[in-house]
């Protein structure tokens, strides 16, 4: 009789542990994104212009270089900051000067930003300057979008593809 009670007790322990594992393996639900909202994700990595134009080396400068490193041109490694702006319905929601990555400042500048916005119609303008100019933008794209609740709109940038890509 005692043994039967012990087996019953063991069964209760096993059931309780199984229920504990089974429940917390997927519950309670976690909601990380508010209802009725959409998301705009601005993300890209892009190398801006070099801080100075490449120039031709003089014959004397070339002669000073080790034979296996002689080349006609020299370019600064460092890149200028990239200026990025994102307008939503006429309001600037993101405005940043992004430095190049890398120890020598020669890598691409990168951005990865998320914006939670109400679902519905919106006008987006994305701007970018990657030149040595001090003002203005050499890339600008305007897009009217209808964002559904829970939609994720990615704003990418590819210079080869002509600029900003909304997808």
């Amino acid at each position: 009789m005692v043994r039967m009670l012990q087996y019953a007790g063991q069964a209760i322990v096993y059931a309780a542990v199984a229920a504990f594992i089974g429940y917390f393996a997927s519950r309670p639900l976690y909601q990380q994104f508010p209802d009725g909202q959409a998301q705009i994700k601005l993300s890209f990595a892009h190398g801006a212009a070099r801080t100075r134009e490449c120039r031709r080396l003089t014959p004397q400068e070339i002669a000073k270089l080790p034979p296996n490193q002689r080349r006609p041109n020299t370019c600064d490694r460092a890149r200028v900051d990239m200026h990025v702006q994102l307008d939503l319905d006429g309001e600037v929601i993101y405005d940043a000067r992004l430095p190049p990555t890398g120890l020598a400042g020669d890598g691409p500048a990168r951005v990865y930003k998320k914006f939670v916005v109400p679902a519905g119609p919106h006008t987006l303008i994305a701007r970018l300057r990657d030149t040595r100019e001090a003002t203005g933008f050499n890339y600008e794209t305007r897009r009217d979008v209808e964002l559904a609740p829970g939609q994720n709109l990615a704003v990418d940038f590819k210079a080869d593809a002509g600029g900003f890509i909304f997808q």
């Binding site: 089974g22 993300s43 990615a154």
Partner: protein
């Protein structure tokens, strides 16, 4: 740290005792946490191999292949998937309990730092393996895990291009990333297994398999859970949509909401600080280590009992170096010795009956020698006449003996129950120093020095050398393995034992007719 350890110890003591009501001592899950961890690992491995047969690693086919397993082949691959999931969760549960229990019982400092430190990367590896596993299903939970993980990694300024861009939109998604995840999900558990092997290197005779009954019960409960509540996917991932409410696995992903919402320096700093603290715990504060066991070569005949009984591989047997006619001698490795004294309890020369020569055993604790133990017994056994006289040998880590001493009860404290050579019980009873002897210690299967209880039981049952002589009346011996929370049980046992002793004939000698066949044969100087 004792402020933290004491309440945790109380909780574990209670849990062990509660589970002890329905489980036999060797089946008690709380006393088999490490072995259960291994058992879950093997379930995960077998089920993982099976579901890998049906899994498609392509990003567009991964979800479909998992759906096929779950719904079309629910009776085999579906159950295996659920077993894989729930055994992984079980692994986390027993690992965390194992860590907390070792901490509560102060079994992580001193020479045990090695097992603690090597356990830290195992914990990290198990979490990483679990997280990559969730990734592979490529459902909405996988999407959430992939995005939060990569965004968190991107907060370290080491990637030229944000790796979270791989999940920017459906157009950015590539199967190559999935191939990497599959590789990691297989490679990391294998690395964890190697680390587990290292984790056990300083533990002799580690218990890596749970008792059969416990294993069957555990597997049956996981199978029942898999049938009643199978693991399901949470809808296909869609990078064009934000993940809505998601069912997190709270065993693996409890910190994900924090990783998502807290700043990078806080989460990375916190993770680094937590890891550092885990690694530093064995020295917060360091254990004040008592002197380690030492060998007295003139009294060591190389019998290997100490070598066989040491729970920490701290004793090795080497070629005799002193010219005595024995093959081997015992050598103690100080960095591995925990000073539990089990070796002294195993030494056949540690017999209190020796009077012709000084009582020096072949191996002993320098600050707690068997000669001092004999002296203490003789001093302590000054009882008032009239009542049954009881002498308690109590392990420091077991039942508290504070206040137990009285007119008819005396106690002697030991590092471990296994430190007591059985001949001392014979000595107490045959010399009529007491009418009865009580041995107490840690809870059964929960010995602080791992094997003190097991070896003591075997010595008393005459199953392991050095054995308690057959002439010693067993009705004058009581054993209580109850842990620190067992004081009430000890008091009850003492009352009953006193009653039992008083019923035994007062004329009867506590010791039966001497049996010369039982005399220790291995005494060097005896």
């Amino acid at each position: 740290m004792e402020i933290l350890r004491a309440p945790l110890r109380f909780v574990f003591d209670r849990a062990e005792r509660l589970l002890g009501l329905v489980f036999p001592p060797h089946w008690n899950p709380m006393l088999n946490l490490g072995a259960l961890g291994f058992f879950f690992y093997w379930i995960i491995t077998v089920s993982g191999i099976y579901i890998y047969i049906f899994f498609d690693t392509g990003v567009t086919r991964a979800y479909e292949s998992v759906a096929y397993m779950t719904h079309d082949q629910w009776y085999a691959a579906g159950i295996m998937r659920s077993l894989h999931r729930y055994a992984s969760d079980g692994l986390i549960v027993v690992m965390l309990l194992h860590i907390a229990r070792e901490f509560a019982l102060d079994r992580y400092r001193g020479v045990r730092w090695f097992s603690w430190i090597t356990g830290v990367p195992v914990l990290v590896m198990v979490y990483v393996a679990g997280i990559t596993g969730y990734w592979l299903v490529w459902d909405r939970l996988a999407q959430y895990v992939a995005i939060v993980t990569t965004e968190w990694l991107d907060r370290l300024p080491i990637f030229g291009e944000p790796i979270a861009r791989n999940f920017l939109s459906p157009a950015n998604l590539e199967s190559r990333f999935f191939t990497l995840m599959v590789f990691m999900h297989i490679a990391i558990p294998l690395i964890a297994l190697i680390l587990l092997w290292i984790h056990l290197q300083r533990v002799s005779k580690p218990r890596i398999n749970p008792p059969r009954g416990l294993a069957i019960g555990t597997l049956a409960s996981l199978l029942a859970l898999s049938l009643v509540h199978p693991a399901l996917s949470q809808g296909p991932a869609d990078l064009a949509k934000v993940v809505g409410p998601v069912g997190l696995d709270w065993f693996y992903l409890p910190l994900y909401p924090l990783l998502e919402n807290w700043p990078g320096p806080v989460t990375w700093g916190g993770a680094g600080a937590l890891l550092l603290m885990f690694c530093a715990i064995p020295w917060l504060p360091p254990l004040r280590k008592p002197p380690v066991a030492s060998v007295d070569l003139p009294n060591c005949n190389g019998c290997m009992r100490c070598f066989n009984d040491c729970p920490y591989n701290a004793i090795s047997m080497r070629v005799r170096s002193d010219g005595l006619p024995f093959e081997r001698e015992a050598v103690v490795e100080p960095s591995l010795c925990v000073s539990c004294g089990i070796c002294a309890g195993a030494c056949p020369t540690a017999t209190p009956f020796r009077r012709a020569s000084e009582l020096v055993s072949g191996i002993d604790l320098p600050d707690m020698r068997v000669a001092e133990l004999r002296e203490e017994i003789e001093t302590r056994c000054a009882f008032r006449k009239g009542e049954p006289r009881i002498l308690i040998f109590g392990c420091d880590h077991g039942v508290s003996l504070r206040g137990v001493d009285g007119a008819s009860v005396k106690s002697i404290s030991l590092r471990c129950a296994g430190q007591l050579p059985p001949s001392f019980i014979d000595y107490v009873l045959s010399k009529r120093l007491a009418d009865g002897v009580v041995l107490t210690g840690c809870a059964e299967n929960s010995c602080h020095a791992r094997y003190g209880i097991q070896w003591t039981d075997a010595r008393l049952a005459r199953e392991r050398d050095p054995m308690l002589r057959a002439r010693v009346p067993r009705d004058r011996i009581r054993v209580l393995w109850a842990g620190r929370a067992g004081r009430r049980g000890l008091d009850a046992l003492l009352r009953q034992f006193a009653h039992d002793l008083s019923e035994l004939s007062s004329d009867a000698s506590p010791v039966h007719t001497p049996d010369t066949r039982e005399r220790p044969k291995e005494l060097v100087n005896g």
